[in-house]
Symmetry: C2
Subunit: 340 residues, 2 copies
């Protein structure tokens, strides 16, 4: 019988796995932002030497996979599971990135929630005794995402104030059975939430209810509250969704404004970069987690983190058929001291 | 440390979970085929009362989820994980199908390998102690798949001899910690294999090397061989890929022709239905597994099954950019007696 499931949506890990190593690689715009000193690699040429945006995105991910394994002093044969997905149709960035790795592969799709889904699943597979090491990764690229979801870049359309800028970049993390932390102690798996938003230029508003739903479920399942965290960080709600999430949680009695932030509000400089409501894309939470957040966990600046990546499971075909945008958020609790 | 990983790609489950219940729902063409008496539900109207093929496909999946939970005498609140994905861009069939279920959701993408990925992952999550019950499901629809991957239906293009017919239907399975079998004992996770095929009308040839790679890895990791199985069933290689898989395994010293079959060669009547090389689509292996195969496991006609769903991770964008088709296959060992 289930021994590690608490409440409705949360797994409590018996032997909390360690996030052994991470690698972040981003494009030039991200490299000019406030997190520039935290990234492992900044690529000035956003085509990464490739002849299409899709191939460039895939190279960001393959770089992150290859280099995180090296950085962890492992070889690919030490990794039992590679969990990867992205925003492109049929997750093609991931498939071309993992093709030459020779690592057993499980494809995941959670739109911009992918990094939390992968990190959580890696934690479960390691804690379940199925792996010594698992890698979670995702990527996004501004140009491939605009082309697929909105307008051709050449069209030069005006962006609305609620629009968000898709991050060009990738992050990858190695999750291991042994290690000295930071540790994954709990994984709260989200439900699909759809509050009726259908505006592809307002993803933050679409995703905020899913974020609030998962964070509230995490509190209810575990007994933790806002004061048990140094930081609760959402994936890419941006300025609009960030505030909505705070308001929605407040309505449920959880005051999180002192401890909350959003990766989509952290990666760009709002003064100098024309990003409207902030950043988005799978690569946003992945690259912020694998740079600033992991460094602050290692330095002790953050001791208890709830990482809540949020995904708008948006299909342009479904939207054209009058559908609204289903969303999901997954939460992973990461701490520096297992006893906390 | 990893205690349940054997060889390079295989998890050996410590407390083999039971496949408690399954549900299959298919369209009219499938309902006219040789498996007609095995399906739980046959829907004569392939629009399923909806106004788009995509919404129809989603309804096949939501029907399978809802009815498998009922059939297992459970309620949705008893299910800790719902693992679902499909072929549509952004897996939209799955997202709209699960939206109203209120079950914690992990999105997976493995193209036509999705049913084995989901069933395997459900087995791992249950065996890992994270769930009492998990549901794995997938779907496909001939019309939504043709429209997205090949030509508009109205175009009426000629189909090549190697083309396969996408199954309209869905299958869902409940995997539980307690039960009397059939049991999931081993899960072999595939690597992405790409042998350079780029013909979207010859998926069987593209996928066969991935199937052979995973089956050979399963044999090497576990010590089992062809004679340890009553049936090794691939997902949707069709007539072309089925033979290629037999040949590729023979080259590696594994003679499987006596014990192998392919769901893509089982669901349609080749004499009366114009399906060329056979069936394909996520719904193919899902609906065949959740009907004939599970019934034969229950009756004892099959005692030891290796279920190997195969996915062509094909992106039309990548193919237009000169790429070939990466493929993956996952294998799940299912037995009626845990001691075997």
């Amino acid at each position: 019988m289930s021994t590690k499931h608490i409440g409705k949506q949360t797994a409590q890990l018996a032997s909390p796995p360690t996030i052994t190593e991470t690698f972040s690689v981003v494009g030039s715009k991200e490299g000019n932002g406030p997190l520039r000193t935290y990234f492992d690699e900044i690529v000035e040429d956003n085509t990464f030497g490739e002849d299409s945006w899709e191939k460039a995105e895939s190279k960001f991910m393959s770089t992150a996979i290859q280099k995180v394994v090296q950085k962890a002093s492992l070889s690919t044969s030490d990794i039992q599971y590679l969990l990867a997905g992205d925003l492109l149709n049929q997750c093609s960035s991931a498939h071309y990135a993992v093709r030459d790795t020779n690592i057993p592969f499980m494809g995941i799709y959670g739109a911009c929630s992918t990094m939390a889904e992968g990190l959580g699943l890696a934690g479960l597979l390691v804690d379940g005794g199925f792996a010594d090491h698992a890698v979670a990764t995702t990527s996004s690229h501004f140009c491939s995402a605009e082309k697929q979801f909105r307008f051709p870049l050449e069209y030069g359309g005006q962006r609305t104030p609620t629009a968000q800028w898709t991050v060009t970049g990738s992050g990858a993390a190695v999750v291991s059975a042994l290690g000295d932390g930071p540790y994954i102690t709990h994984v709260t798996t989200g439900k699909v939430v759809d509050m009726g938003i259908s505006d592809v230029n307002n993803m933050g508003a679409a995703m905020a209810p899913a974020a609030a739903d998962t964070i509230a479920a995490h509190f209810q399942d575990t007994g933790f509250g806002p004061s048990d965290y140094d930081l609760i960080v959402t994936g890419d709600l941006g300025m609009v969704g960030r505030q909505l999430n705070i308001d929605l949680l407040s309505q449920q009695g959880y005051e999180v404004s002192d401890v909350i932030d959003d990766c989509g509000c952290m990666i760009y400089d709002f003064e100098t970069e024309d990003v409207h409501a902030g950043a988005s894309g799978c690569g946003c939470s992945a690259s912020v987690f694998c740079s600033k957040l992991i460094e602050e966990l290692r330095s002790g600046a953050i001791k208890r983190l709830l990482f809540v990546a949020t995904g708008a499971l948006m299909s342009t075909t479904a939207l054209k058929q009058g559908e609204t945008i289903p969303c999901v958020a997954h939460a992973v609790r990461i701490v520096t001291d297992k006893a906390n």
